[in-house]
């Protein structure tokens, strides 16, 4: 599936209290990371419905990343644990359908971890770039519409 000049699309869901703040901090410190990360701020990692992740992959993203507070530090007490469970389920579903489950990533990045934010974005983009485009988004081209 590897293509020449492949430029991955990665949708990032960042919780308001930790990972969004870390992204702000990374920006303020002018830490560079690839523009392939396309961010959206959500209030809590627990509000991310598995549908959002699947939808992103379906609509063209090569990967998704969900960033939340460290275990025990959730602004909403236990939201990150709920997120962890949801992500585990999404990964299991992807894997059992034969898709690459590493295209959904959950990371704990606290509000003071600007450098970690940049590092994770760099590493994950490099990883996905190495892995090639996701085949999940080509589902539409598998002939679905024609049956209709």
């Amino acid at each position: 599936m590897k293509e020449e000049n492949f430029d991955p699309v990665i949708v990032g869901f960042f919780c308001n209290w930790c990972t969004s703040a870390a992204a702000d901090l990374a920006g303020t410190a002018r830490l560079h990371y690839p523009p392939n990360i396309r961010p959206i701020r959500v209030m809590c990692s627990s509000t991310v419905d598995p549908v959002y992740l699947i939808r992103a992959l379906q609509e063209g993203a090569d990967a998704t990343i969900l960033g939340g507070c460290h275990p025990g530090d959730c602004h909403y007490i236990t939201g990150n644990y709920k997120a962890r469970r949801r992500v585990a389920i999404v990964k299991t579903v992807l894997k059992s359908l034969g898709f690459d489950d590493t295209r959904v990533l959950l990371e704990w990045i606290s509000g003071s971890e600007g450098p970690k934010f940049a590092r994770v974005m760099n590493e994950y983009t490099a990883y996905i770039r190495e892995r090639g485009p996701s085949d999940f988004k080509y589902l539409d081209s598998l002939g679905g519409e024609e049956i209709e």
């Binding site: 209030m43 627990s46 379906q58 949801r86």
Partner: protein, 1105 residues
């Protein structure tokens, strides 16, 4: 209804955004959208003209929604929403697209990509915005009270400012007194004020202010609620003293025998377990420190308060010591003689040299009591009409009988032997445990009404009668049946139990001149051998392993050898003949399940003369007895559950009959548990699972160890010993027992010896006091938890392990006029006044490899101050100051530095110290002078390390409870370092002082006042506004499944029992959205974060181009 006339305002932010992102192109691209009515750029959207531009455009183009593309929403979301509101647009129809921190800055190296990303972020934001509803903030009441966490200088300042403004303020301080780190200091730079003089007025004001409610020795346990409406649970740690009664007289400390390191003086001094940390403490109340259950107590199956009676013995108060033993155990003399002392095996003193002689101390006080005609009295706590039968008057039976009788039950003990005591009486020879000790310790039970029926064998015939007569039965028959070897000639041998029983019951036996061989290596073997010896025999113990593997108590083996018992190891009996015994030689093989190496037969034999062979190869319960009664038996033991219930209703079992042959203390412990569960059974209460051993990781204070080694007890003269059955161990002398008790390391802190209770005139002391949880409702919280400095031990290469190498805070105590050395520094190791001192800056600071990456800010100044104070106190002492840079950036600081250099002659050396090590009596400091480029070596008497500062201990746990962020060093994170240094992301929670980052007193006080002002602004509002971004339910599609309810961490969701739909309590909902992600029907959604909105935004973000 989706918006159709959106305005998009793109900010240049000077060159911050426009320098990277092509803002003109962004405006053009966005302007092409059909739903965008107007798009433009401006140099500073947050400026007043910028805001005016938004206001005017809303009116001019009749905009129904606004996206401002600028910086992080944490900065200007409110500005832009207010601007929109002024123009009549609902503020919740304004969204921020963060194109500065999220596009321009991280991608400044790639303008094209940054521009495209900015466009994409704005497009996604528009998609989200389009379905935003117009909302109005929810008004919530505000509780006009504040909480300040931390009673240091910042916290006190905040509390006083709030209280003076008329706001009732709760102060929580974890230490017993206010004062924080500042009150520990000698003097303050650059004014050289004495903190004891300048801080105590503040402390007293806080202590007595009518608007301040002070909780010292307390910690925040739990925080619930939100801005303006917090509910805080505070744990008041038990000081074991009622502070309402305590007058601070100090009599308790005078008699307290437990000496601990002073935490206030950072181990530079000692204090008693009951203490006031320092003279000026507020409140001036005594606190008793208990760290937990000490290892001795935890290891004791009966959980005797060993540290307690040892402490009383240390004070020479044997009368008190015996009372402490008696609180838990009437059989002090028995235990003091024959206990296998698990307490000593667990004693922390063993890491220093040898365990404290706990058993012998107990034995001493038991004998002391007898000598002084002090007898235990069993006080029955109210008669009950139920009765319990106990079968067996041994260790387990006696313990159970005592405990049951104490609680008022009628107790009858049956035993087939003619004496009370079971194995204690017939299994243990009188030279170890005289019968009169058993008799005198059983007497209180008889006096209290326990009935003993001796010479009475319980069997299948009379058992039912006993069951009928009593409400419950405990079987504690012990292990009176011998194990057999099944070798030829065994019938010619005597079994050890039989032998000991005969001798103990007075049967005459003459072994004069006879050769006796005892087979076995346990306590019974040693007892039998020493008994035979006293009857005149020539005794050899033959054991199949080696001496170190003998299960007998090692001291007993030593005693036997001393008395003349011979040993033969690695032999196993093969055949007993007339006059001889045939032994097979053994060798050691692999380890078996007991962890000892297994003996393996070699096939070689030897014979040795033996007029009598005594077999001591183990004892087992007489299981046939139980079987006959219809009780289930397992592996020759009576089978019980974890509550010690047998298979028969109301019949319990305890002791060796349940566990197999063990020792007195375990049997007694099981007896106690059986009694406990019998009581539960009789009262219809829930049973308790047997738990013999507890855990304790306390290790005491080896640095305070009393230097004496373990004392030996006095023994009977050897000649007399081997020819009579007189007790051979005479115990400690009066002097030795006190000296031995002093060896205790005080692991548990307060030992509960109770000496203080005797001297407290106001009866303030309550050693059973528990922690108390109180609740306070407050509207705002200020966290001022301060800092700590790294311990010197963290820097072994700089000599941190040596006693005279201190950190700066420890040295402050030595410089403080109120400190342990009255302001003249002395070496902790030998009390010598130092003739030379080296100060080392930047220890751990600016050193990410060994400590922290940051500068700890205060060290330069306090080190200069300390150097100066040393010169004040000891003008002839040489002072070397190793620095990297002097950072003296405060008012009057640089001048202070110059004074130290010029007026006081402090020797400043610019360079890093690489090593500190001991040379004779001195410490050699090895470093480099970077100004001359030379290696410097100085030998000094003391070294002071300016170690790095970190957030105080426990602050991370507190931050988690408050849900405020912190970094890896324990500093609390502010909302914005420059502009919101006192705020946290959690509304209503503020930070002040060194909790945010290490700072000097001036800055801490300023921040304290600042945070107070912030809190006042919040609390002065009549009502607060709460974000309306909460979960809402569409009852039309809600199925009432309750999955949302399970997700809610706040208990905000309930299921309406009538309509069977979910209902959200708006006061509790925080708007996290966990519920919505779990809703199978999209019935529950967070307003303005609806799934459709997010998915439309995701579609934009995921799109490939």
């Amino acid at each position: 209804m989706a918006m159709k006339r959106i305005g998009v305002f793109i900010c240049h932010c000077g060159r911050n955004i426009a320098g990277t992102v092509d803002v003109k192109r962004v405006a053009e691209e966005i302007g092409k959208r059909e739903d965008v009515a107007f798009s433009t750029t401006y140099v500073f959207m947050c400026s007043q003209p910028g805001q005016k531009l938004i206001e005017d455009s809303i009116k001019k183009y009749n905009l129904d929604g606004v996206v401002v593309a600028n910086c992080s929403p944490t900065l200007h979301e409110r500005t832009m929403r207010n601007a929109a509101a002024r123009a009549g647009l609902n503020p919740y129809r304004v969204e921020i697209a963060n194109i500065r921190e999220w596009a321009a800055w991280p991608h400044e190296d790639n303008p094209e990509a940054a521009t495209r990303k900015a466009i994409r972020i704005i497009n996604a934001t528009i998609e989200k915005l389009k379905a935003n509803a117009a909302l109005h903030p929810i008004e919530v009441p505000v509780i006009k009270r504040a909480l300040v966490i931390g009673g240091g200088v910042a916290g006190m300042q905040a509390a006083l400012d709030l209280a003076d403004a008329g706001i009732e303020t709760v102060v929580v301080e974890k230490n017993p007194s206010l004062g924080g780190n500042m009150i520990r200091l000698s003097e303050t730079f650059p004014t050289l004020d004495c903190p004891q003089c300048i801080l105590t007025p503040k402390m007293n004001d806080v202590g007595s202010h009518p608007n301040i409610k002070l909780y010292t020795y307390s910690e925040v346990e739990e925080v619930e609620g939100y801005l303006g409406n917090f509910k805080v649970k505070i744990r008041k740690k038990s000081p074991y003293i009622d502070w309402n009664k305590c007058t601070g007289c100090g009599e308790c400390a005078k008699v307290c025998p437990t000496v601990l390191p002073s935490d206030f003086d950072l181990k530079m001094a000692t204090r008693k377990a009951t203490h006031i940390p320092f003279e000026q403490a507020v409140p001036f109340k005594y606190t008793i420190t208990r760290y937990g259950v000490p290892p001795c107590n935890a290891a004791c199956p009966l959980h005797l308060n060993a540290q307690g009676y040892v402490a009383a013995a240390k004070a020479g108060r044997f009368d008190r010591a015996i009372e402490v033993v008696w609180e838990n155990l009437p059989f002090a003399g028995i235990a003091g003689r024959i206990c296998t002392h698990p307490c000593e095996d667990a004693c922390s003193r063993r890491f220093v040299d040898k365990p404290v002689g706990i058993r012998e101390i107990k034995r001493f006080v038991a004998d002391w009591a007898e000598k002084n005609q002090k007898r235990y009295v069993l006080h029955v706590e109210g008669e009950k009409d139920k009765s319990v039968a106990i079968i067996g008057a041994g260790a387990a039976g006696l313990m159970a009988a005592h405990d049951l009788r104490k609680k008022g039950y009628k107790v009858t003990v049956y035993d087939k032997l003619p004496v009370i005591g079971g194995m204690l009486a017939v299994g243990i020879p009188p030279y170890r445990l005289p019968q009169e000790v058993i008799d005198r310790e059983v007497q209180p039970l008889i006096d209290a009404g326990v009935k003993f029926v001796l010479n009475y064998e319980v069997n299948e015939k009379n058992f039912e009668e006993i069951r009928k007569k009593h409400d419950a039965v405990i079987i504690a028959i012990g292990t009176h049946k011998e194990r057999h070897l099944n070798i030829p000639g065994e019938e010619k041998a005597l079994h050890a139990l039989e032998f000991l029983r005969k001798v103990n019951l007075g049967e005459k036996m003459d072994l004069k001149g006879k050769k006796v061989v005892v087979i076995g290596g346990g306590n019974s073997a040693v007892d039998a051998a020493r008994t035979a010896l006293r009857l005149g025999a020539d005794v050899t113990i033959a054991y199949r392993r080696v001496r170190e593997m003998m299960p007998a108590i090692p001291e007993e083996v030593d005693d036997a050898e001393e008395e003349g018992v011979k040993f033969k190891f690695l032999v196993s009996p093969a055949e007993i003949k007339d006059g001889t015994i045939k032994l097979e030689k053994m060798k050691l093989g692999e380890k078996d399940e007991s962890g000892r190496r297994r003996p393996i037969p070699t096939g070689e034999y030897e014979e040795m003369p033996a007029d009598l062979v005594i077999l001591a190869v183990g004892e087992i319960p007489d299981a046939s007895f139980a079987e006959k009664l219809g009780i289930e038996v397992e592996r020759n033991r009576i089978k019980t559950d974890e509550y010690l219930r047998t298979s028969l209703d109301g019949v319990f079992a305890a002791g060796d009959a349940v566990t197999g042959a063990w020792d007195w203390v375990h049997a007694a412990a099981y007896g106690r548990w059986a009694a406990k569960n019998v009581m539960h059974y009789l009262e219809g209460e829930e049973m308790e699972e047997v738990k013999i051993e507890w855990k304790s990781n306390l290790r005491g204070f080896p640095e305070l160890a009393y230097p004496a080694g373990r004392h030996d007890t006095m023994k009977l003269d050897l000649k007399e010993r081997v020819s009579t059955f007189k007790e051979f161990n005479l115990g400690y002398s009066d002097e030795d027992v006190v000296d031995e008790a002093k060896r205790c390391l005080g692991c548990g802190g307060c030992a509960q010896c109770g000496l203080c209770l005797e001297v407290c005139d106001v009866n303030a002391i309550d050693l059973t006091m528990k922690d108390e949880i109180v609740e306070e409702d407050v509207g705002a919280i200020i966290v001022a938890t301060g800092f700590e400095v790294m311990p010197p031990e963290a820097f072994p290469e700089l000599g941190g392990k040596y006693p005279d190498v201190l950190n700066a805070l420890q040295f402050e105590r030595l410089l403080a006029p109120s400190g342990p050395t009255a302001g003249i520094p002395r070496r902790p190791s030998d009390g010598k006044v130092p003739e030379s001192i080296a100060f080392v800056h930047c220890v751990g600071s600016r050193d990410p490899q060994n400590g922290v990456p940051y500068c700890s800010r205060i060290c330069c100044m306090y080190t200069i101050k300390q150097a100066m104070l040393v010169k004040h106190a000891l003008p002839n002492t040489a002072v070397y100051d190793f620095y990297i840079d002097i950072r003296s950036n405060g008012k009057g600081y640089e001048e202070f530095y110059h004074r130290a250099k010029e007026e006081y002659g402090v020797n400043f050396i610019r360079g890093k110290v690489s090593k500190v090590y001991k040379v004779g009596d001195k410490y050699r400091v090895q470093g480099v002078d970077t100004l001359t480029g030379r290696i410097v070596e100085v030998d000094v008497d003391m070294v002071v390390l300016a170690t790095a500062a970190k957030g105080s201990e426990g602050v991370k746990e507190l931050a988690k409870k408050l849900r405020i962020p912190y970094d890896e060093w324990g500093w609390l994170k502010e909302t914005h370092l420059k502009l919101k240094p006192l705020e946290t992301p959690v509304g209503g929670v503020f930070i002040a002082g060194a909790a945010q980052f290490v700072k000097d007193i001036t800055d801490s006080v300023s921040q304290g006042s600042g945070a107070a002002a912030k809190a006042m602004a919040l609390l002065s509002k009549p009502q607060l506004e709460k974000e309306p971004l909460l979960a809402r339910v569409d009852p039309e599609i809600c199925a009432g499944c309750g999955r949302c309810k399970d997700q809610c961490a706040y208990g905000a969701i309930s299921i309406d029992p009538v309509r069977h739909v979910a209902v959200v309590n708006e006061a509790l909902c925080e708007g996290c959205g966990a519920c919505s992600a779990n809703c199978p029907t999209t019935a529950i959604q967070v307003v303005n974060f609806k799934k459709g909105q997010i998915i439309r935004a995701v579609d934009v973000l995921a799109e490939v181009f």
